[in-house]
């Protein structure tokens, strides 16, 4: 075998190995969802698939309400994010000042703080504003969490648009809003799409603030899963069933949009 063929094989095997290791827990969870409680205690791969765990989960809780809250909060927060981030990124990309890079880094630095550090102040603010356990409150929190990343990513994608196309637009009579809508957004659309996907997924998976700021009305799927880890002991099968139902939508969504996701995560380096 030639040198390059061997390294191709070696890389291939390594990638598969990593993929299997990463996917393995999810795989176990998915098959456990189809077992009953007794079988769930074991790790055997041979069992009779049954839907009884799914039935019980459905019966015990309002799955639809949780899904709806997740969808509302993810998409809502992403739209709010974009409403703020697009003008911000436009200003920073095309009218940079000396401080622009500093501001961007500062925004990103707020993501370095462990959320639990601001748990108490946030909870108190939400309580006093009567935003606890409301869908609006949750959406606002998700927006605030994702804003630095969305601004940063949109900034890098906007910078890729050649400046003289916007100048040509200006000469043609485009005011800044028209430049944004007619020229910048169509040209940066792939980047905007990847950023939106990433924001939706991050919001969907967000567990910390969902658990602490919602109880029932506005609770998304992350809270739903957590509610199955009860002090009476872990009901593996039901937990697995609940988890599978929680991740199913986003898993399908992510699979369908994987190309755009990769582009977004690698900041457009992979076109």
């Amino acid at each position: 075998m030639t040198e390059s063929k061997f390294s191709k094989w070696a890389w291939g095997i390594l990638c598969w190995l990593v993929a299997i290791i990463i996917f393995f827990p999810i795989f176990v969870m998915m098959i456990t969802a189809f077992k009953n409680e007794r079988e769930a205690q074991t790790l055997s791969l041979f069992f009779l698939p049954t839907l009884e765990s799914f039935h019980e989960v459905f019966a015990r809780s309002n799955y639809v309400s949780y899904v709806w809250n997740s969808i509302l909060a993810s998409i809502g927060s992403t739209l709010l994010c974009f409403a703020l981030a697009i003008p911000a990124a436009y200003a920073m990309a095309f009218f940079p000042k000396k401080r622009t890079k500093d501001v961007l880094l500062w925004m990103l630095s707020t993501k370095m703080l462990p959320p639990v550090g601001v748990l108490v102040p946030m909870y108190l603010i939400f309580r006093d504003l009567r935003l606890l356990d409301t869908r609006i409150g949750l959406t606002v929190v998700f927006m605030l969490i994702n804003l630095p990343i969305v601004v940063w990513m949109l900034y890098t994608f906007f910078k890729e648009v050649p400046k003289d196309i916007l100048e040509a637009g200006r000469m043609d009579g485009a005011k800044p809003k028209q430049e944004l809508v007619h020229l910048l957004m169509p040209l940066a659309l792939p980047g905007i799409a990847s950023t939106a996907l990433l924001a939706i997924i991050l919001a969907w998976n967000e567990a910390f603030w969902s658990l602490n700021l919602t109880t029932s009305t506005a609770a998304p799927l992350t809270t739903f899963i957590a509610s199955f880890s009860s002090p009476q002991g872990l009901f593996w099968a039901k937990l697995s069933a609940a988890s599978t139902m929680a991740i199913a939508p986003i898993l399908v969504f992510g699979w369908m949009s994987q190309k755009q996701l990769v582009r977004g995560l690698t900041f457009g380096a992979v076109k």
Binding site: D164, R170, D172, P186
Partner: protein, 377 residues
């Protein structure tokens, strides 16, 4: 009517001053070319006129109206960019119609104007294509078409031919000249190529270091360059410069020493020149000729044959280099010794500060204007 007036324009980027006081009058229907080496500020000046760069101080007026604070689209200008800057996500027709769409013109009227412009530029078969499916020359024409549709008072061109290959450049030069005549519009054109400047301009503005070195008709700059920089910039190959001293000054001109002995009397108005002053003698390669005997002599080092003409790069006795343009048929070879004939009336003199010493007579063609530059009668 479209006149452009620049009065004492300055432009600084932070601490660095790029344009250091430019005064210029551009007349209606004139084709003005800003030319100069890289970094001289010609593109910056164009962008200031366009409104894409802020003017630090000074006044810019279009048709007598001060437009310093007027947004680019309201100045009645259209610009053709060096990179064409076509909108990649729109078809050719949409690209050309965009400005009208922003202005709220009806769809029917928009596309009628687009069709007219497309006819002038022979773009009709390409109207539905996207820019990426076009060649460089076609994109160039779409960019011009986009400008034409706006019916501007002044067209601005920022090095539009730089990205084209040599043959296409010559073709487009002719097309642009004909377009200028057909549209009867004022055009301001930026280039670093002095051949483009010489062939297309009614008026050339030579810039260096943010300052206007000289502004005048192409032949005026050719025959009466105001200083060493303009003399060396206009004309290809470059003018030969021989540092020398004044031997004598009288009514007919100034007599200067030549390397290798010998003298020549250059017909200039001596002004403040006195014997002993350091001056630079300037002679264009096309005004020198190889001969058996001449005022100068040297050894040919390199021969460049273009077929129609031959360039002889020669070395004078004092080791300085001189370029001679000769006929294509001469048999001279490298390392031949030749005499060099020069005609005193084609020589230039520049004083110690680099400024030209005024010639005794103005060249008859120097003040010739192109038809379009004459005011409409």
């Amino acid at each position: 009517m479209a006149t452009v007036t620049l009065r004492d324009l300055h432009k600084s980027f932070g601490e660095v001053e790029i344009i250091k006081g430019v005064d210029l009058d551009i007349e209606d229907r004139e084709f003005v070319v800003f030319v100069g080496p890289s970094g001289c500020g010609k593109s910056t000046l164009l962008r200031m006129i366009a409104g894409l760069e802020e003017i630090t101080s000074g006044d810019l007026a279009i048709n007598g109206e001060r437009v310093n604070d007027v947004p680019p689209a309201e100045r009645g200008l259209a610009m053709v960019f060096q990179t064409y800057a076509l909108y990649p996500h729109m078809s050719v027709a949409d690209n050309m119609a965009f400005s009208l769409r922003l202005a709220g013109v009806s769809k029917e009227q928009r596309y009628q104007k687009v069709r007219e412009a497309a006819r002038v530029l022979q773009l009709e078969p390409l109207l539905d294509r996207k820019p990426k499916a076009l060649s460089g020359g076609q994109r160039q024409r779409v960019a011009i078409g986009r400008a034409i549709v706006r019916e501007p008072k002044v067209f601005l061109f920022d090095e539009p031919l730089s990205n084209l290959d040599a043959a296409l450049r010559v073709q487009m030069r002719i097309e642009l000249a004909r377009l200028h005549e057909a549209l009867k519009a004022t055009m301001i054109y930026v280039t670093h190529d002095q051949v483009e400047a010489m062939t297309m301009a009614d008026k050339i503005v030579v810039l260096q270091g943010g300052v206007v070195e000289q502004a005048g008709t192409p032949l005026e700059l050719y025959h009466h360059p105001a200083n060493l920089f303009v003399a060396g910039f206009i004309g290809s190959p470059k003018m030969n410069f021989l540092p020398t001293t004044v031997a004598a000054v009288d009514g007919t001109g100034a007599t200067v020493a030549l390397p290798g002995g010998g003298q020549v009397t250059v017909p200039v108005q001596p002004g403040r020149l006195k014997p002993g002053d350091s001056v630079t003698l300037g002679v264009r390669p096309e005004h020198l000729g190889p001969a058996d005997a001449g005022e100068l002599s040297g050894e040919v080092l390199v021969v460049e044959r273009l077929g129609g003409e031959t360039f002889l790069y020669s070395q004078l006795p004092d080791q300085s280099m001189i370029t001679i343009q000769a006929d294509g048929e001469i048999p001279t070879r490298a390392h031949d010794r030749i005499g060099i004939k020069l005609n005193p009336s084609t020589c230039h003199l520049f004083d110690a500060s680099g400024a030209a010493v005024e010639r005794a007579q103005r060249h008859p063609l120097a003040d010739m204007k192109r038809p379009t530059a004459r005011k409409a009668s």
